[in-house]
Symmetry: C2
Subunit: 231 residues, 2 copies
Amino acid sequence: MAVVNGDEAGVPEGAQSRPISSIVIITAVQSQALPLAEKFQLVEDAALSAEGFPWVRYSGVYKNLCLNVIWLGKDLALGTAGGLKSKGATIGDVFLPSHVAFHDRRNPLPVCDLYCIGTRQAFSTPDLLKELNLKAGKLSTGNSLDICPQDEKLITANDAAVKDMEGAAIAYVADLLKIPIIFIKAVSYIVHDEKPDSDNYLKNLMGGSVALDEAVVRAIEFTNGKRLSEL
Amino acid sequence: MAVVNGDEAGVPEGAQSRPISSIVIITAVQSQALPLAEKFQLVEDAALSAEGFPWVRYSGVYKNLCLNVIWLGKDLALGTAGGLKSKGATIGDVFLPSHVAFHDRRNPLPVCDLYCIGTRQAFSTPDLLKELNLKAGKLSTGNSLDICPQDEKLITANDAAVKDMEGAAIAYVADLLKIPIIFIKAVSYIVHDEKPDSDNYLKNLMGGSVALDEAVVRAIEFTNGKRLSEL
């Protein structure tokens, strides 16, 4: 979820003092995008799919907010997040991660090492965390649904409570564009919990999606009319 | 290297019959981009870096071709490719891969499995292969400089002779935009050759870059004035 109007470091002055005007919600799964589009009466952007891109965009105006929901296309069906039991994550928890980093980009060469881990801070939203009663923690991102021993080592180094397959990449782009970003991550399975991660992933996906949609709707309501500094 | 004027499948008719007008060369390393910019007297696009993007672009006109060289920025210093000894690759070999796929995007869920492996065919250029005396083979891409056992298994499944860290991602974007793409990959180290891959990578990087630049210059000369069907 990206809220437009500057961020804490290196954005136009004055942006902090205006109410938030626009929110872009990026999700990986159709089942998370559609309820939001329906709830806020957003309309699909037909031009985007006509151009052959796999992304689907819904947009519209809700109260004082220009809302956009983008899901990552028909050829991808991933979503929510895996929780780390060692960090106290349980199924149905909704996290508001403070930091995000990669766990599958291994490169020991100087400069490349830090670039590949790509740690970035989410926009700080202490009031949102409290109001929605979400869990604090860090997020780690990798290209695979499962994790191999090398991934696990870096997830531990990243001090992550939840893992997903897109967060750190979205943070990289948001950082380039100087757009403040917030992650809302519902735990739909526990990493390495008896069964293969793919079985666990499917089993609780809907439950995780419902918890996520509920949190996102409440976050939009909370954001309406507020300044960035009030989140 | 992307050559503009349609591709074999699903591009404007007539594009095949016109001579190639534009080439975009994408490389990961400054040491590969600068000699090409110098050789073809290309000029840096200052606007791109002024906007805060890490990518650097050089452009200009050479004979009948509009040339663009893009390297992937100051925060990234990777390049060339690792060769697989089992496929007969040796240091200094230059490959013209026929196919590209990912080896670090593991996901057993239906549809996702094929999406994550992301096999794509490069534009077929039999005359270029012969004229430049390059090696045929397949390319496999992953985010890490080294390979873990899970990566190795998928590199074998991808039947790859060379591995890099960007090819399949560039192929994905080229496919979305329906732009024909050619890969030219010089082997600068052998995967798992006694020392860690990062030591091998640094040791022969310059040698690999020289072989690569020579092949790219010859490919540009060969392309000039030709149609796609003549490559």
